[in-house]
């Protein structure tokens, strides 16, 4: 029997995904197509925010939406009814999207005819945070009814996002959600993150959110 050797590997486990995500980013840069990865818990309002975003920005950008869902077409149908290109990616039992799944989804679009594609990731605050999708910016929604302690429970998600949309602020009056404490917790994990307070229902803050996104897209596709 041979003696046991110690063989050095020194490789990142997620390097395949990272490599693919980097290639995807470079390709998007060449084509001048901005990709936004939107993540949140189920029920926090991803689809509603996307619909509001389309309403605000469809006059300025050519928009596509990549919908990830376990096994339904509900969200894609809502989005398609606004007249933008929507692709439904059925993730089977998967809990997140990775770069290869996003690439497969993007292949279904005519990328050169689009300025902005929004990924509606699987509703989950855990797994999507671990996988780079190749998106140019990561956004997340935290809705008021979920509570101000979410940054403590899902620190990785809050640390990988460029912007946090605090949605359903119309519930603030009937809730003990501490906005200041939540913001401090988030800034500790991610000092550079932008935080926007929004209600998709009343429309408060939607202009600020659309303005943030418009600035990012315009700078990228210039």
């Amino acid at each position: 029997m041979d003696t046991i050797r110690l063989i050095e590997i020194r490789e990142d486990i997620l390097s395949d995904n990272q490599t693919l995500a980097s290639e995807l980013k470079a390709d998007l840069k060449n084509r001048k197509t901005f990709l936004l990865n939107l993540m949140s818990s189920p029920g926090s309002g991803k689809t509603s925010l996307i619909l509001k975003t389309i309403e605000k920005l469809k006059g300025k950008f050519r928009i596509g939406v990549l919908e990830a869902d376990i096994d339904s077409m509900v969200d894609a149908e809502k989005v398609a009814s606004t007249g933008v290109q929507a692709v439904q990616l059925k993730t089977g039992g998967f809990c997140h999207l990775d770069a290869s799944m996003v690439k497969a989804g993007l292949d279904a679009f005519d990328l050169d005819s689009l300025d902005l594609i929004i990924i509606e990731n699987v509703g989950n605050l855990v797994c999507p945070a671990e996988f780079d999708t190749g998106a140019i910016r990561n956004a997340m929604i935290l809705s008021v009814p979920e509570g101000d302690d979410k940054p403590l429970k899902y620190p990785l998600m809050f640390s990988v996002c460029n912007v946090l949309v605090v949605n359903k602020i119309d519930y603030l009056a009937s809730s003990d959600f501490d906005m200041q404490a939540m913001k401090e917790r988030v800034k500790k994990l991610n000092p550079g993150i932008a935080i926007l307070e929004v209600s998709s229902k009343t429309g408060v803050g939607i202009d600020e959110w659309a303005g943030w996104l418009e600035g990012e897209v315009a700078a990228f596709i210039r």
């Binding site: 050797r5 110690l6 403590l152 990785l156």
Partner: protein, 116 residues
Amino acid sequence: MHELPVTQSILDIVLRHARMNGVTKIHAINLNIGELSDLQDEWIQRYFDYISKGSPAEGAKLKIERIPVVFRCNACTGSFEVRVKEMKDIVCPSCGKKDLTLVSGREYYIRDMEAE
């Protein structure tokens, strides 16, 4: 929940190194995984045992070293460790400031393997 794709990636990487090094049997794989990852050791091993059947990695033990969460204070540049369960209202223990940068705790890394 995403243990399966991560485990598949571990297997792909170690089998590639096994081929490069003429390895016939892998006994153990040493991993560095950050405390911020919620991967469950037990499940990674269970999936690994399943997908590695019939390969040189069959029966290999995954030895996971958890890398602690470390923050650096942007005010006094001191570094300090934080337990994930105590990640509430963190302040720099030296100067009391709250402007912090995450230094480690997000690792997903294969260090080496014990093989013959």
